[in-house]
């Protein structure tokens, strides 16, 4: 028997009971939609996070004060902790302590806004070291020159502003040489950064940079750092460098018990692993939910196939009388079940793709960045094959029952 005829018969049969067919595949549709959404949104989130980290260079190590955050409240704690200080930075700079350190820069974050002749804007204000930023982000000065180590030492009142900040405050006129105000203190703009957009977690265009010493002394009145950024000599040396940093800082802080660490270290690899672990765990959990939904859906398919076989007993008898073999009948009902679940899978894939698109858009809005929607082709193929497989498995028994019907009995069936 021709496969095309089989498909045609199955299609006619399913089409005859549209409502029943649609209700039957609902479970499958939901299951596959869930697969798609989980895989797609999971991957979008992963891509987004990994992409952001990826922009920062694999050599980068970030040391933050306080305990490693396990939840949102811990992050605030990290900003308030004052465990990273000048002497720590000096110790880390010592080649005997951390031999593979290429460069290092402390950073502080200044909350607040900037203003120039009546225009006010709220950028991200960092006390930092431009040298390291150049190495990390590949940025360069559009106009003027970046401030130097000498400026940092002197706690000079100088700032570098990002392209967007410049536009907000100065429009099209020159910015370099002008004085802007942060917390009522005057700072001279020495340079603007060429537009580059989002790099890593930072929108460089939206940044204002000033010497961290200046920020600590005149704006924040603190003597600790919010972050210390370290560059290892190469990505391969990151792990060794992390070990050295931990040892050095524990020595500096007289810590013997690792669990009492008053600092924590973030590396690209660490974050990548964390993200993958979270996404992986989520995927496994939801896969179980999906599997259950497919199982329930499959049982529904089996049930409706039994009904269909019974309803069409006479048809089976007729086909047998006309020369259909057991195999032909079995095949026909199997194809019907597979077609049914396959269609459920297809609808699920389409719905899932739609929801994922909306989901990644919403995620982007929530995170304040653009989350690129990626259609998970592998999940789509997996979804359709899994649903077809469900049809095969749960259609097998009803199809066998149909094939084994006695032709004479079947023809007499009322």
């Amino acid at each position: 028997m021709k496969i095309s005829s089989t498909f045609k018969i199955s299609f006619v049969a399913l089409n005859a009971n549209k409502l029943r067919s649609s209700l039957t595949i609902l479970g499958i549709v939901i299951g596959i939609t869930a697969i798609m959404v989980v895989v797609s949104v999971g991957r979008s989130a992963e891509n987004m996070i990994l992409g952001e980290i990826g922009g920062m260079g694999a050599e980068m190590i970030v040391i933050r004060p306080g305990k490693e955050p396990k939840g949102p409240t811990d992050i605030a704690g990290s900003l308030l902790s004052n465990s990273l200080k000048t002497q720590d930075v000096e110790a880390l700079r010592n080649k005997n302590n951390v031999p593979y350190l290429e460069d290092l820069a402390p950073a502080v974050i200044v909350p607040g806004s900037v203003s120039y002749s009546g225009e006010t804007y709220t950028p991200v204000i960092f006390g930092w070291v431009p040298d390291l930023m150049v190495k990390m982000f590949d940025i360069y000065a559009d106009e003027g020159t970046f401030f130097t180590d000498a400026d940092i030492k002197q706690k000079a009142n100088v700032v570098i502003i990002g392209a967007k900040v410049k536009k907000e405050l100065f429009g099209d006129s020159d910015a370099v040489g002008k004085n802007i105000k942060i917390k009522n203190k005057s700072f001279k703009v020495v340079s603007t950064i060429a537009p580059i957009g989002q790099v890593g977690f930072f929108n460089v265009d939206d940044m204002v940079l000033l010497p961290y010493t200046t920020a600590q002394t005149y704006l924040l009145g603190i003597d600790h750092y919010h972050e210390v950024i370290v560059m290892a000599k190469s990505p391969e040396l990151v792990d060794a460098t992390v070990v050295d940093i931990e040892r050095t800082l524990r020595e500096m802080h007289n810590i013997t018990d690792e669990s009492k660490d008053d600092f924590f270290i973030v590396t690209q690899e660490g974050v990548v692993e964390q993200v993958k672990t979270i996404v992986g765990a989520l995927t496994i959990f939801l896969s179980v939910v999906v599997a259950i939904s497919l199982l329930v859906g499959g049982i529904g398919i089996m049930n409706i196939m039994f009904v269909s076989v019974t309803e069409r007993t006479r048809e089976i008898g007729l086909r047998k009388a006309m020369g259909a073999t057991k195999k032909d009948i079995m095949f026909q009902f199997l194809i019907e079940a597979i077609l049914l679940t396959g269609m459920g899978g297809l609808i699920g894939v389409i719905l899932g793709a739609g929801f994922s698109y909306i989901g990644s858009f919403a995620l982007g809005q929530a995170m304040g960045t653009i989350v690129k929607f990626s259609f998970p082709l592998s999940a789509a193929i997996l979804g359709i094959s899994v649903s077809a497989f469900v049809g095969l498995v749960f259609g097998l028994y009803p199809a066998r029952k149909a094939a084994n019907k006695d032709a004479i009995e079947a023809l007499r069936y009322e």
Partner: protein, 234 residues
Amino acid sequence: MPLLEIKDLKKIYSIDEVETYALRGVSFNVEEGEFIAITGPSGSGKSTLLHILGFLDKPTTGEYKFSGKMIDKYSENESAVFRNKEIGFVFQSFNLLARTSVIDNIKLPLMYSDIPEKNWHNLATKAIEEVGLSHRVHHYPSQLSGGEKQRTAIARALITNPKIIFADEPTGNLDTKTGESIMAIFDKLNRINRHTLILITHEKEVANYADRIIHIRDGKIEYDRLTKNGKNNI
């Protein structure tokens, strides 16, 4: 060589160790081109006989030769292939597939044959012409009268050009006039197209279209005789 040779055919059903004889030893031959009516009261075993002759059932004992071949050793699969190739069935209740057009209903046996799909349409068109339904090709069974339904079923039985056509009470669900028109088609198929026909009926008028009547009662042949037609025909 006769087309069908059956010798001492017996069919015993055992249900709960109670044996019921449906056929108690039936023997006769059918020549190619014959038109036979099997008659008898209900429960006489005529349906069982038709099922055995049509490869839908197997005798408990006895011989059945089709074109000289013993067929009692045929597997279920071989029987199906054989039914498809050599046998056409027409049923009392038409057994058309709803939601399937006349032409697709007629093509049904071709689905299980090895006839290439490109020939299907021509074969179906030819079969439709034979039964005079060319104006109803794309209609659905629900749009047909009883007579038209039965003609569709006859066209379906004809399409594989089988050696023999079995009709089980083909006029049983039709009024007298329509029944006559259906019998006229059978008559034509036999006398002009030389199809071998065996039909079951309990109506005398219907049986008289045949050349020969085999009357069965209690699982045995009561009489086997030529009709007026038969005498003229031979």
